[in-house]
Point group: C2
Chain length 246, copies 2
DNA sequence: TATTATTGTCACAATTTGTTACAATAATAA
DNA sequence: TTATTATTGTAACAAATTGTGACAATAATA
């Protein structure tokens, strides 16, 4: 169970965290043929933002990202990759954050640590949509899935971060274990193909796709079969971690 | 001409720079069949380190990397890519740096900003070995090329950073304009092949390699030919920036 | 029991990659 | 001057991979 933080903790001057450095996570899910990401909605504003956080002084950078991911999804052991570090000056605009904090009744000077410039390390995570339980952070009142294909405007440079995450996802799709981590434990070949098509934004040939996936030798075919359609029942597959480690 | 910094500047408490954040650059060159990287050797110690630096408060992260690269090589407009951000706790070991500063007659408490924990953004650069003019930084007395195949021990986690840079280089070799940026303005197909073989650590077939490179349509064949060997003179090629932008 | 949609797999074509072969040629040796 | 040598540019063919369509199998529905 996650422990809710209290606004007082924001008032501390960043003690215990590395200054200047933040983490932003693009948390991908897949549901009903749509790629989705988790976004936070801030109280009394229209601002939407990527789940983020800061790095504790006694914490590895990658562990901080895992912590942020776990706090927002209630999930452990999720596929997580660092993909880029964003450090442009023009990403530093305290206006939205000041508005959000103001909506919480918090008014700080521009020297407050949260209103200073941050360099942000971007991570993307791949989660089973059906397993994640979105949890807002202490400044947000909602944490929900949004269709990647129809994103609302995001805070700061978060749109750019999402785009870069998606670019990375496409490039690494056939080099890493990306597809399988977005589906449930078992899935059909058609499920997998729909996912690949959605990520790549293009149709793939069914026959060649099946041949390619099976040739990777990381899929375990299960005896039992899905049923429910007016047609031949497809095999179910499970991703076999042990068969071909990355 | 680069302006030499004075040790007094180190004594300032990091004012003007983002705290906690550093940059390390793996600067690759290629000469006589060997991949090389630039290393700094610190005065009165045996420590070798990657060229690095810090990010000014009014400077883009990527610009800071470009600045570090320009300061060490005297070159502008070089191929430079961010590849990973290193933030493990165990990379923070002030012992070597304290020894180096002590060798300069500088003795600081553990609270000095240079002795605190840093998260470091890694960049790799590809430079024309014959054009770079290595320049030491203010704590080093030498800046020289070292064979990647025969590296001496490096400071902190710099060995790991180099390895990750090389891994990235290999993965991106046929996806980005990597090879061409390590050679002189003009080169033969054999030059290019030797470079690819060195980066990948394996032999390639001459015929297939030539066919592949020409099919990329980013090489411009020059009329004039190299001469000097007891055999047919090879064409010279030039990388054509405009033909197929990335 | 026939119809329908989808599945698993095969077969063949098209393309790409791996490999060998061979003529061309610039320097050197005879 | 001519033969030798090493390397180059390219063609030719083989092997492997990928693209594409076809077809029988089959689970629900009509």
């Amino acid at each position: 169970m996650r422990e809710r933080l209290h606004p007082e903790e924001i008032q501390a001057d960043g003690a215990g965290f590395l200054p200047s450095l933040a983490i932003d996570t693009v948390i991908f899910g897949f549901h009903e043929g749509q790629l989705k990401i988790l976004l936070l909605e801030y109280k009394n504003t229209n601002w939407l933002a990527l789940p983020g956080g800061f790095v504790r002084e006694t914490e590895n950078l990658n562990d901080a990202a895992r912590r942020v991911l776990a706090e927002r999804t209630s999930l452990q052991g999720i596929y997580l990759e660092q993909f880029y570090t964003f450090g442009d000056l023009d990403r530093y605009d305290p206006t939205p954050l000041r508005a959000i904090m103001s909506a919480h009744g918090l008014n700080y000077s521009d020297h407050h640590w949260l209103l200073r410039r941050f360099v942000s390390v971007g991570y993307y995570a791949l989660v089973d949509f059906t397993k994640a339980v979105p949890v807002p952070d202490l400044l947000a009142d909602r944490c929900d899935w949004y269709d990647l294909a129809n994103l609302p405007p995001l805070m700061q440079d978060h749109q750019k971060i999402v785009q870069k995450a998606l670019d990375t996802l496409r490039i690494e799709l056939d080099r890493k274990l990306i597809g399988f981590n977005l589906l449930s434990e078992t899935f059909t070949m058609a499920d997998l193909q729909r996912l690949y098509e959605t990520i790549l934004g293009q149709k793939l040939h069914r026959s060649g796709f099946q041949r390619k996936m099976l040739s990777l030798e990381i899929l375990e075919r299960l005896d039992k079969q899905y049923s429910g359609g007016a047609h031949k029942a497809p095999y179910l597959y499970r991703f076999a971690f042990d068969k071909k480690p990355e």
